[in-house]
């Protein structure tokens, strides 16, 4: 067991997979000599050389498309979005090429690619650097979307993503890179399609992912003090949704609160709500509650930014309300 920061856990995942499979390579802006904007690839350039840790020009759509071509022809690229938001420039390559091409090509090509990097709302980074692309990309067929949230799951999930033969959009969170945890000394991977039960409980199911998981666990003390016993589930897989784990929980609690960082309109929670209502309608004692970010560009101002995303107090309040049938 060694205490490890999340960015180091991610690096270990990449390092181990690169050592094992020489078809795996990393590309992106400043991933090489600079070591990555969040130091996830630090030291890999020295270890694996300039071709396997490729410093690209600032040309997101083109280097993303290049990675698709490399994947089609047998390599296993890991694209780092310096900030995931920049990959809006590569929307076409991610949607049309990475996501849909296997289907369009009638199975001629597979595109084993990981598209990873820092996403989410940081600390006053302004609207453009506070994107939640998972919401935008969830409609693209053929993509798997994963969000890690701890040093432990970051490593296990990233290794699986690298080994997966499909394009995987892998979201890290800018504010979680320093999350610290003891990691096992042995090698492990985690399934990409399985939600993680963070806390078992019987009163209410809280569905969350990425950084909001930690807001939920922060709220937990007060929720427990208030006398409630919530079940907290980290979705991990944002597409496809692990409806099995989610269903099992709801059949037990009959109450659902979704806590997400993306905006409410067209967000992950919107899709989740629809799926729950369709598949588990009879199990619900009341409406599915959605705590999402405001439908606004994330403001720079710290107070406004705080108001934009869901805070632990709101989770406490929502639990209390739902338990008292006030929702």
């Amino acid at each position: 067991m060694a205490e490890t920061l999340m960015f180091n856990a991610l690096r270990q995942a990449i390092d181990e997979e690169m050592a094992k499979d020489d078809k795996v390579f990393v590309l992106g802006e400043d991933v090489g000599q600079y070591g990555g904007s969040y130091k996830v690839t630090k030291g890999l350039y020295e270890k694996y050389g300039e071709f396997r840790v490729l410093d690209t020009p600032i040309a997101e759509n083109s280097f993303t498309g290049m990675a698709v071509g490399a994947a089609m022809s047998g390599l296993r690229p890991i694209i780092e979005g310096m900030n995931m938001g920049f990959l809006l420039l590569a929307f076409n390559q991610i949607a049309n090429n990475a996501g849909m091409m296997r289907y369009t090509s009638g199975g001629n090509y597979k595109i084993p690619t990981v598209i990873r990097g820092p996403g989410g709302v940081g600390r006053q980074l302004g609207a453009e650097h506070s994107q939640r692309l998972e919401a935008y990309f969830q409609a693209v067929p053929g993509l798997k979307i994963v969000a890690c949230s701890t040093a432990y799951n970051a490593k296990g999930l990233l290794k699986s993503a690298i080994r997966d033969d499909n394009p995987v959009l892998f979201f890290e969170h800018v504010l979680l890179y320093n999350h610290k945890e003891n990691l096992p000394d042995y090698e492990y991977t985690l399934p990409l399609n399985k939600a993680e039960i963070v806390r078992q409980g019987k009163d209410v199911t809280i569905l969350t992912y990425s950084r909001m998981r930690h807001h939920c666990t922060q709220a937990l003390k007060q929720i427990e003090k208030d006398g409630y016993d919530p079940e907290i589930i980290d979705l991990i897989s944002l597409k496809p949704l692990d409806m099995e784990t989610i269903g099992e929980s709801i059949r037990k609690t009959h109450r659902v609160i979704i806590v997400e960082e993306c905006m409410k309109t067209g967000g992950i929670g919107a899709e989740l709500t629809a799926s729950i209502k369709y598949q588990l309608f009879d199990e619900l004692d009341g409406p599915v509650v959605r705590l999402s970010s405001q439908d606004i560009p994330t403001p720079y101002n710290g107070t406004l930014e705080r108001l934009t995303i869901v805070q632990p107090e709101q989770i406490v309040e929502a639990v209390s309300k739902i338990m008292n049938n006030q929702i």
């Binding site: 390579f25 020009p57 759509n61 083109s62 498309g65 071509g69 089609m72 022809s73």
Partner: protein, 342 residues
């Protein structure tokens, strides 16, 4: 109508081509031409759907370049105008036709259609429907080739050819990729098929520098213009660029001056282009030009060429029969091919 660019002169005295090789190039061009004519017929008869972009007039470019590659080894990347690039790459005519008919026997299993011909066995990277989006993908396979050689130490000299139009050359992906390919000396040929038009946008109205091949120079890349209606000239420039790429000397930008004999797609009434412009280019039909060269130089007789024409026509009829007789994709397979496992 802007004045026609002077087509670059080609020195025929350097040409060395065997009879066998000549027939391969000739047959490929005829196949491209007759296949597209058949597509027009089948489209108007309601057998194929969607946007169908034909290649008539540009055959010397596809044949001259692709037939100079190593079949099933070198990559070819196309656009929505992809039928003939697929044929030159060796995808059987019946598979291309069946794809156009939306049949499960098509090279993309009926999932792709006219603008999305793919064939991994033939190293056809695909037809890409968005203008310029194939350029990065092809740059990626070229990167892969370089990676095999330099990062993995394999003895590997695969080359990628990337086709696109004059319109695409004004898109940012073109410049971004030229930069990277030159920077990393990637084994790739960027082949601009300058047919003077991007749907209804005349080339000189869309670019500040109509001589596209000159754009290579700012990336420290080799750039050449070539008469795209002259198979031998295209073949010559292709062979040189391919040899350079295999030798690790980097990418080449080739601007082939050509013309499409039909509208942009079968849905285009083609009313904008000046008849005198069309006449100018029709008079330069690449198939006739090559046939004349072959017979005048006594490499092949006219009757041998006629035999090929007949054989190709027969192949195309068979392709149509094959496509007609082929089954539709099974409805139960609607969700197949979304992920790598199925």
């Amino acid at each position: 109508m802007a004045e026609e660019r002077t087509l670059p002169k080609f020195d025929y005295s350097t040409v060395k081509i065997s009879k066998e090789e000549s027939l391969i190039y000739y047959e490929d061009m005829v196949l491209g031409r007759l296949f597209e004519d058949k597509c027009a017929e089948m489209y108007y008869r309601g057998r194929m759907f969607g946007f169908v972009h034909l290649y008539n007039g540009q055959e010397a470019v596809s044949s001259g370049i692709v037939k100079s590659l190593r079949p099933d080894q070198d990559y070819v990347c196309s656009t929505y105008r992809d039928h003939v690039h697929a044929l030159s790459s060796g995808v059987p005519a019946k598979e291309v036709m069946a794809e156009l008919f939306g049949k499960v026997t098509g090279c993309s299993k009926g999932r792709g259609g006219s603008m999305h011909m793919f064939s991994e066995p033939h190293k056809l990277l695909g037809g890409y429907a968005f203008v310029a989006e194939g350029i990065p993908v092809a740059t990626g396979t070229a990167y892969q080739s370089m990676y095999r050689k330099k990062a993995l130490g394999e003895d590997f000299d695969q080359v990628t050819v990337c086709f696109f139009g004059d319109g695409a050359s004004n898109n940012g992906q073109f410049f971004e990729c030229l930069n990277m390919a030159a920077l990393w000396k990637l084994p790739i040929l960027y082949v601009v098929e300058n047919n003077k038009w991007a749907i209804g946008m005349a080339h000189e109205r869309a670019t500040s520098q109509p001589e596209i091949y000159k754009k290579a120079s700012v990336f420290n890349m080799e750039g050449y213009e070539v008469d795209g209606m002259d198979l031998l000239a295209v073949r010559d420039v292709a062979q040189k660029a391919i040899a350079r790429a295999r030798a690790g000397e980097g990418p080449t930008l080739i601007e082939a001056l050509t013309y499409r004999f039909r509208g942009h797609s079968l849905a285009d009434p083609d009313e904008l282009r000046d008849p005198t412009e069309k006449e100018f280019w029709n008079a330069r039909d690449p198939i006739k030009k090559f046939a004349t060269y072959l017979t005048e130089h006594n490499i092949v007789s006219q009757s041998e060429l006629d035999t090929i024409d007949k054989k190709v026509q027969q192949d195309i009829e068979e392709a149509v029969e094959f496509a007609e007789a082929s089954p539709e994709p099974d409805k139960s397979e609607l969700y197949r091919y979304i992920f790598a496992e199925d």
